[in-house]
Each structure stands twice: as C-alpha cells, then as structure tokens.
Symmetry: C2
Subunit: 202 residues, 2 copies
C-alpha cells in the first residue's frame, strides 16, 4: 500500500511546528498514550526518522506538545478575563471567578490536553525557568487578588493566604473531576467554599 504524501517538496519548511501541531491533533482525539511518532510523520508526509532531527525521542515531542498547551490555556484565560472590565469590587470578584472557571472549562473541554500537561511527560524540576515565576496563569491570579484587596472585596490579612490556596483548589478540583474522582457538579460550590472561607462575600 503506497503511503499518501501530502507534501511535494523534499524540505518541509517548518517541520518542527508541524510535528507539534499534528501531535497535538492526535492527542486531542486519543490522548497522549496512544500517540504514534510514525503516524504523526505519516500524516505530515514525512519519514519517521525526520522527527529525530528536532526531537531526541518520542517523549521530547510529547513534552513539547504539553508545554505549548500551558501557553494555550493562559491565552484562553486572558481572553476570557479581558471580557470582564471595570475597577469595582464586583468586577474584581467576577474576574477572580473567571480565573477558576476558565481553568476548569478548558480542562473539561480537552481532558486529554489537561492530562498530558500534568503527566510525567511534562515534568518540570521546579527550580528551572518553566516555574511559577513565568507562569502567566499565576501572574494573572496575583494581579486579580491585588484587585480584590484594593477594592475591599478581600481583607488584607487574607491576602497572603489566598494565593497558593486559590491555585491549589482550582487545580485540585479540576484534576479530581477530570479524573472522574469527583462529580463535575461540585465544582461551582467548591469555588463558593473557597470564596466563603477567604471572606469574599457575594
């Protein structure tokens, strides 16, 4: 059976991006576990060995897909955040909610993506640059909490306790729900509990 060739040039042009994009497509459908390097190459119309010019092994391609997803999630989050304007306490509270909801909705819509991002393929050594510091989602959270304090929606004495707490609650609940260990309908009320215990009243 002859292999279907999409391409008509010997050189692809931007094979690295194509590999990531195609691997992303396959992961979206079947999850990262069933990703085949050969099938990715075949889809692009390139020989299996071509990928090894850009990635040392299959794991590296998976990781590249995963890390690109962090950007994608942050993009989505910032787009949704931008829809909520205003400097009132009400607006700040809505943005805070949106941070949690967008994280969750994105994960629910693409569970294979979420699972890849927090799988062993995307391990970070927590001391490198891929860390909290340049984590856009974390920066957005920090900014949002500052708004909550400055608008009086969050007591100043709770500020220091709310950052990591918010992050872990949002991620933890999402993770448990995506994994099927917690019912999705609980998510909203968990955010309620979080806000309540931080003293953010409706």
């Amino acid at each position: 059976m002859p292999v279907a060739r999409v391409r008509d040039q010997y050189h692809h042009g931007d094979l690295e991006s194509a590999l990531i994009a195609t691997a992303r497509k396959f992961t979206k459908r079947n999850g990262i576990e069933h990703l085949s390097l050969r099938k990715v190459a075949q889809e692009i119309g390139v020989s299996p060995s071509a990928a090894y010019h850009y990635f040392p092994d299959r794991d590296a391609l998976m990781a590249a897909v995963g890390f690109s997803l962090f950007e994608e999630l942050a993009d989505y989050q910032e787009r949704e955040l931008a829809k909520i304007t205003g400097t009132t306490a009400k607006a700040a509270k809505e943005r805070y909610r949106a941070l949690g909801k967008t994280y969750f909705e994105w994960a629910i819509k693409e569970p294979h993506f979420f699972n890849l991002m927090f799988s062993e393929h995307c391990l970070v050594d927590s001391k490198s640059e891929e860390k909290r510091e340049d984590n856009r989602a974390f920066i957005n959270l920090t900014k949002c909490l500052d708004e909550l304090v400055s608008t009086g929606a969050l007591e100043e004495r709770m500020r220091g306790h709310s950052e990591l707490l918010s992050w872990t609650v949002v991620h933890g609940a999402t993770s448990l729900i995506v994994g099927g260990h917690l019912d999705p309908e609980n998510y909203e009320s968990i955010l309620d509990d979080l806000e309540f215990s931080l003293g953010i009243r409706k």
Copy 2:
C-alpha cells in the same frame, strides 16, 4: 538466548496477583509509561499471552495496579492516623494535619504511583461505585472534620465548606508539587493557609 524460568509448575497458582504485584514493582521504578507486559510476564516466568487470561489488554493491567494503590494509600493514611490518639481539640487538629501530610508524603515517596493513580489509565466514570462514597480517604476526612467541630476546633458554620475544600487543596498541592509546578517547601504553608481560612487556629 534461553529465557530464565523462575517457576517450575505449569500452573502458577495466583497469576493475577503476581501480574499486578510485578507490574507494581516495575511502575515504582520506571513509571507506568515504560511498563512492558512482556517483561512483567518474563519476570514471573510465564509466557506473554498468559496475562490475557486475566486482563483484556495492557491498559487493564495498568488500571488494576492503579486502583490497588488507592487501597495502599488509604492503608498508610489509616496507620498514621491511628498513631494519634485522644479526643481533645488538639488531637483532632493533629489528625486533620496528618490527613494532609500523609497524602503528600506518600505521593512524594512514590511519585510514579501517584502519577499512575491520577493518569488516564485510572479513569473512573464518577457515577460508578469506585467513587467518593466508598473512598476511604474521604471517609476519614469526613470523620476528622466532625471531630474538629465537636471539639470546638472548627466552627459549625464552616463545616459544610471544609470537606471538598480540604480534599481539593491537599490533592491539588500534592499534584502540583509532584509535577514540579510548585516547590515542595510550600506544602506546609498551604496547609497553614487552609486551616487559617477555615478558622482553625493553632
């Protein structure tokens, strides 16, 4: 090259348990992604196809390993909890802490186990029996929170907000730290924040 045979009987006796136990051993070392059904069979001294009498495919074996780990974690948690006796508020607070700390410590000691448990291989449909209801870790948490209330360590009005919140914080922080997205040294202070925001004072 002749295959080394550990076994001297045609029938193994309890091959299903042996498969899970051996797969567990390999997972502990190398993570679930690099688990080979053939190597597991070889280690036991059995042909590769023998496994298919007990598991429909490789994924099913992985899942079996994963689900057994939930039991293992609960066992460990209950052993540690049992060490803290007494009916005072102080004892209740210590037990509450222990719930969070044991979860974390277990995950840090065996990250490959933790990753398997919350990977796509151990997906639960959240409507089945493998759910919250018969989740021993969750039951222990419930009991512990009741103790906190009855000893006066936790205000009754916070009781309803503390269950899912505690669970998601503990799991979320652990998950982020195991994945390298958060520094381990933050864990203790996250538990502090949780207790603080729930009104559990030292």
